[in-house]
């Protein structure tokens, strides 16, 4: 990122640290994580020790009170770890399941759940999607019924990242079915409570992360585990989605850039009809064209980060960046796989993995259609 936004010596030194972590800890074990189907918990502890898990959060809970420019640097480097699943697992913890807690949680709740999350001693997951409600977030049915000082929770969440390794879920549940958008709450639910059951799901990509279906059967948690006000869950989750979408743009783009570089190298080395594949005009046009799109995606992502740092409403641009970066990632993956020939179809090839991994971004964190629908509304249509 050749950009003023990330040009201070602190950003650079921080980038070095994340790059070293990625290069020494994540990359060498990338395929091991695929085989295991999840990253190991020790990674989170190591990241916590380095101060990587609470960049924007309050110092009181172990955070660093920095802005999104540092988060962007971190995910730009983590996105190069050669395992999009692991990268997603980490970013779910840092940018998808904890922002609401950090912003709206009570001091007691933050001491109990945010501080260990920042230290890397506990791992979080975000539980919104249900078998019958994904894009239509307001359609979730998981019910939390108040019984004195406790919520009694029943329902099923699905496609939940970190399902097995998570210590707790940031759950979106219906607390008042008659209150419309004011009837949802975000509740922290520990994974080890009686009545919580996790079934792992088998995915076509993102092998390094554990995705599961979670059943809640008469699960009891204190009402004090509610994040923010009771009944504000839907609105708080919409805000939390902003961080989720931006991080998806950043890691997706970083992975695409790595793949582009690796493909260029491949084409330079691959000999066809007596000359390198890279010398064929078709190859050159394709790679040049992809490069143009990568630059545009980066510029758009940076524009969002700039708005986030300035504290202005970034909703419109975040939505736009999400749509655009997904398109670019999928295109880069498809074209790079093609340039790899038969090898690109192998699971061991970076291009083949990117082909299945990049596909997720068009569905998760707000599908392309959801994003366009949302953007159209913001554009006054």
């Amino acid at each position: 990122m050749e950009n003023d936004l990330y040009a201070t010596p602190e950003h650079e030194a921080f980038r070095d640290t994340v790059r070293k972590f990625t290069g020494e800890v994540l990359k060498p074990r990338a395929r091991e994580f695929d085989a295991a189907g999840c990253p190991d918990k020790a990674l989170f502890k190591k990241m916590g020790d380095l101060g990587l898990l609470g960049l924007r959060y309050e110092a009181e809970y172990g955070g660093s009170e920095l802005d999104w420019s540092f988060s962007a640097v971190m995910h730009d480097e983590l996105g190069r770890c050669d395992n999009a699943g692991v990268c997603m697992s980490i970013s779910v913890h840092t940018e998808m399941a904890t922002p609401s807690l950090a912003q709206f949680g009570t001091p007691e709740l933050k001491r109990e759940y945010l501080a260990p999350a920042i230290a890397g001693e506990s791992i979080s997951a975000i539980a919104v999607t249900e078998p019958d409600a994904g894009s239509d977030v307001a359609g979730v049915k998981t019910r939390a019924v108040r019984d004195g000082d406790e919520w009694v929770i029943n329902g099923t969440k699905t496609y939940i990242t970190n399902a097995r390794i998570a210590d707790w879920f940031c759950l979106l549940a219906v607390t008042d079915p008659d209150a419309g958008y004011g009837g949802y709450s975000q509740i922290i639910v520990p994974n080890n409570l009686p009545g919580v059951r996790v079934d792992l799901l088998d995915k076509i990509g993102m092998w390094g992360s554990d995705t599961g279906q979670i059943h809640f059967e008469d699960v009891r948690v204190p009402v004090a585990n509610t994040i923010g006000d009771i009944g504000r869950g839907f609105q708080q989750q919409m805000m939390q989605f902003q961080d989720e979408r931006l991080v998806a743009c950043i890691t997706g783009l970083a992975g695409s850039e790595v793949l582009w570089e690796e493909t260029k190298r491949w084409c330079e080395e691959r000999q066809l009809f007596g000359r390198p594949l890279a010398k064929m005009q078709n190859t050159q046009f394709k790679l040049a064209d992809l490069w143009v799109e990568l630059q545009a995606a980066r510029a758009l992502n940076d524009a969002v980060v700039k708005q986030m740092c300035a504290g202005v409403d970034a909703t419109k641009l975040t939505t736009a960046a999400k749509v655009f970066s997904v398109r670019v990632s999928m295109k880069v993956a498809t074209e790079c796989m093609q340039l790899h020939g038969g090898y690109g179809y192998m699971k061991e090839s970076m291009a083949g993995r990117a082909f299945v991994d990049s596909r997720l971004a068009a569905i998760g964190g707000g599908s392309n259609e959801t994003m366009l629908h949302y953007l159209a509304k913001q554009l006054g249509m």
Binding site: P9, E10, E12, A13, F14, D16, T17, K20, F21, D49, L50, G51, L52, L55, S64, F70
Partner: protein, 258 residues
């Protein structure tokens, strides 16, 4: 105790290297840089001494603006102060010139121990450390794998064929550290933020009173940098895996390299 660590910033190990237009060095305008790997081990040795007790660790680097980043990283890892020799002419020095500049700093700083890397990833000279020791008239050891600090510095050195040697250097002294000597720590985010307040002194050769380094004093000049032409002496072995291994063993025996 004061420990001085000499750091060089070199092209990142993942950087794509192309020879520059006049064939005298690489194109370094648009690539990433990092601290020379050997020097990170040297810095780690210094920081271990600091962790174990009282030590003031000062890191020193010669180079253009971009070197600030290496120094900031070193401060983020735990070094106390940095000295940046920022002088276009100093950058043109040969190994002896660099050693003279570093010696001038060491004379001002009077460290008990000077650590350097055993060599640099880019130049591979292994020359600056012994030259620096000589200019400072310090006892020194190279290829050092571990150190033990007491009244003296005990250095375990790596020799040919996996043998080890222990030498004891009276302080003040210099040790050039080998890679793999230790587990190099990371600059934590907290460390990086604290480093903001740590001083970086910027100096020129004139500030240090050095006149016999830089372009004018170069004795060893790089004539040419090039990628070796592809030879046609390669032989591709074919057959089943077992056959290939058999042929390979025969070849190795024939060549008598084992």
């Amino acid at each position: 105790m004061k420990v001085m660590v000499c750091l060089k910033q070199v092209p990142h190990q993942d950087a794509r290297l192309d020879v520059n237009a006049d064939g005298t060095w690489i194109q370094d305008g648009n690539i990433k840089f990092e601290i020379n790997s050997y020097d990170t081990y040297a810095l780690e040795e210094a920081l271990k001494i600091k962790d174990a007790g009282e030590a003031d660790v000062v890191v020193v680097s010669i180079g253009p603006d971009r070197v600030t980043q290496a120094l900031r990283t070193a401060l983020g890892m735990g070094a106390d102060r940095a000295i940046h020799v920022k002088d276009d002419d100093a950058d043109l020095s040969d190994t002896l010139g660099c050693a003279k500049i570093l010696a001038a700093i060491a004379k001002e700083e009077n460290p008990d121990i000077v650590f350097t890397g055993f060599m640099s990833d880019d130049g591979n000279f292994s020359a600056v450390a012994p030259m620096l020791a000589e200019l400072l008239d310090l006892p020194s050891a190279t290829g050092v794998l571990s150190v033990e600090v007491g009244d003296s510095l005990k250095c375990e050195r790596e020799l040919e064929g996996g043998a080890l040697e222990v030498v004891e250097l009276p302080k003040p002294c210099l040790a050039a550290i080998q890679t793999g000597a230790n587990q190099v720590r990371y600059a934590s985010l907290k460390g990086i933020m604290q480093a903001k307040k740590k001083p970086v002194d910027v100096k020129t050769m004139a500030d240090l009173g050095v006149s016999d380094a830089g372009a004018g004093a170069v004795k060893a000049k790089i004539e040419k940098v090039y990628v070796p032409p592809k030879g046609d002496s390669a032989e591709i072995l074919s057959g089943s895996t077992d056959e290939i291994v058999g042929q390979l063993v025969t070849k190795i025996k024939e060549l008598g390299v084992l």
